[in-house]
Amino acid sequence: MTESTYRIHGATGDWEVVIGLEVHAQITSNAKLFSGAATAFGAEPNTQVSLVDAAMPGMLPAPNRECIRQAVRTGMAIEAQINKYSRFDRKNYFYADLPQGYQISQLYHPIVGEGQITVTLDEKHPNSATKTIGVERIHVEQDAGKLMHDQHPTRSYVDLNRSGVALMEIVSKPDMRSPVEAGAYVRKLRSILRYVGSCDGNMEEGSMRADVNVSVRKPGEEFGTRTETKNVNSVRFVMAVIEHEANRQVDVLEAGGKIVQETRLYDPDKNETRSMRSKEDAHDYRYFPDPDLLPLELDDAFLAECRASLPELPDAKRTRYETELGLSAYNAATLTAEVETTRWFESLVSESARAQGKSESDVARAAANWLLSELFGALNRLGKDLETSPVSPAQGAELLALVADGTLSGTLAKQVFEIMLETGDAAGKIVEEKGLKQTSDTGAIEEAAAKVIADNADKVEQYRGGKEALFGFFVGQTMKAMGGKANPKVVNEILKKALG
């Protein structure tokens, strides 16, 4: 654990930045938290709305087990305390995107208590310093609807499709001290949520948004007054908000002003935050336990199932990749950062082990290298990702097996892989059809080498006369004569012998 040295250099000296994040993560579920309407993104306005979501008179909430389960699993993934007793409270305020006039949330008895997330501060160097950021709590609550302002000159339009979608609010402690730490925290949190499967982490679609709490202080002094910038929807913007807001606060303070505790909005186009006057008088939320809902009590069987269904998490996986699979720290970190990469990699490794009849640790390094260099390089070039990869893990494993058993040379393997990307065909089939099999047939190679030697008597002379650089020429010519398919090791040996 290291102290952050990030400072805002003001006219009166250096300022330390204190950051806390409230991340709203949409819980992955088919139906909404308290109604049976669907949660899918991008539907026609007000089609994924039940009468409950529209807060019609007499409508009542009925909670979705899966949303509770996912919040509990998420809590377990960050080693948090799980509260077997929790309650839903109403947060009362008036806004057009809030049909009930209150949001059902959890203030007094959240479902998840204190936990923690460890981040690597320099993600390029996986063995660099780490920092543990405290998580204060996770509670479950309803999302609001959406207001559209651009459709009409004097009216705003209300779409309630998101109204009532389940969210986890993951509240960190004010433990972060720099934009980099905050960025690392959000990325790590996102990675964990995606491993657990409790949130798809899709920030563009609003599945994850952060409320960014920022204050500044002279190092060692008490916390300053904080501002909260709402609904920041990318890691880059989170970092930009912190930098901008910290600088703004330092300017205000150094000019003799005071920071007002307020809600602010980030404008990514102008890269600035501004006060949200529309929410100004909504401070008194009059929280009280929702009388439509009884206390939520979780039994041991429910908790046991939640725990049993947790996958291996990124930190544990990374360590295992290094110790059991023998991967480099960098490769292990890269492969475990995203759950899709891990899944693809583990599938590739198990298919490879099966195809080659070897243990996973025997095939893992080659698999990791191929995935990180060859496959990622190709996908990059094609503008694709693992999900849309034209090559499956099983197909990759077949290719790697052909390299391992000497059927393909590195060069041939690259050639076959290119064809696989284009056609989607299996490596074996390509090798068969195009005759790309590497040959170690000494007879054929000896024949080709003999012809090259016979055809280039002058060069043989020069070589034998001491111009050893010419050896490469003979190798090249022999390989060419073999159509590139000769085993280079065998070619070398035969030429060495033939040229004396």
């Binding site: 009468l51 949200m276 336990p289």
Partner: protein, 106 residues
């Protein structure tokens, strides 16, 4: 300790400004006359409920469920929605599948 705090908070009587603040929180517009009339009315009622402060509630949990019962959880199945006509049927102003409200500046 707790009782003393409760009692002192409850003893506060409300004035015209407080009535206006409550009305604003509750989003009910009131004229000055209405607010003025509400001051004694609300004080009467609050003064009367204030007697609860004298009850010794040490060690007593606030009631959460009148009849012992715990929260049931439903299955994660889509059973509702796709009822836009029903949702919008009573709207004072609905346009292009949306509810319309005066333009909001955020």
């Amino acid at each position: 300790m707790e009782r003393a705090r409760n009692a002192s908070a409850a003893r506060m009587s409300i004035d015209l400004q407080t009535v206006k603040k409550i009305a604003s929180l509750a989003r009910i517009s009131v004229t000055d006359g209405e607010a003025q009339a509400l001051v004694p009315e609300l004080n009467n009622i609050l003064g009367w409920v204030e007697q609860l402060g004298e009850v010794d509630v040490a060690g007593v949990e606030p009631m959460t469920a009148v009849i012992p019962n715990t929260l049931r959880l439903r299955d994660d199945v889509v059973t509702d929605g796709n009822v836009r006509e029903k949702v919008l049927a009573n709207a004072p102003q609905a346009e292009q599948g949306f509810f319309a409200v005066p333009k909001v500046i955020e």
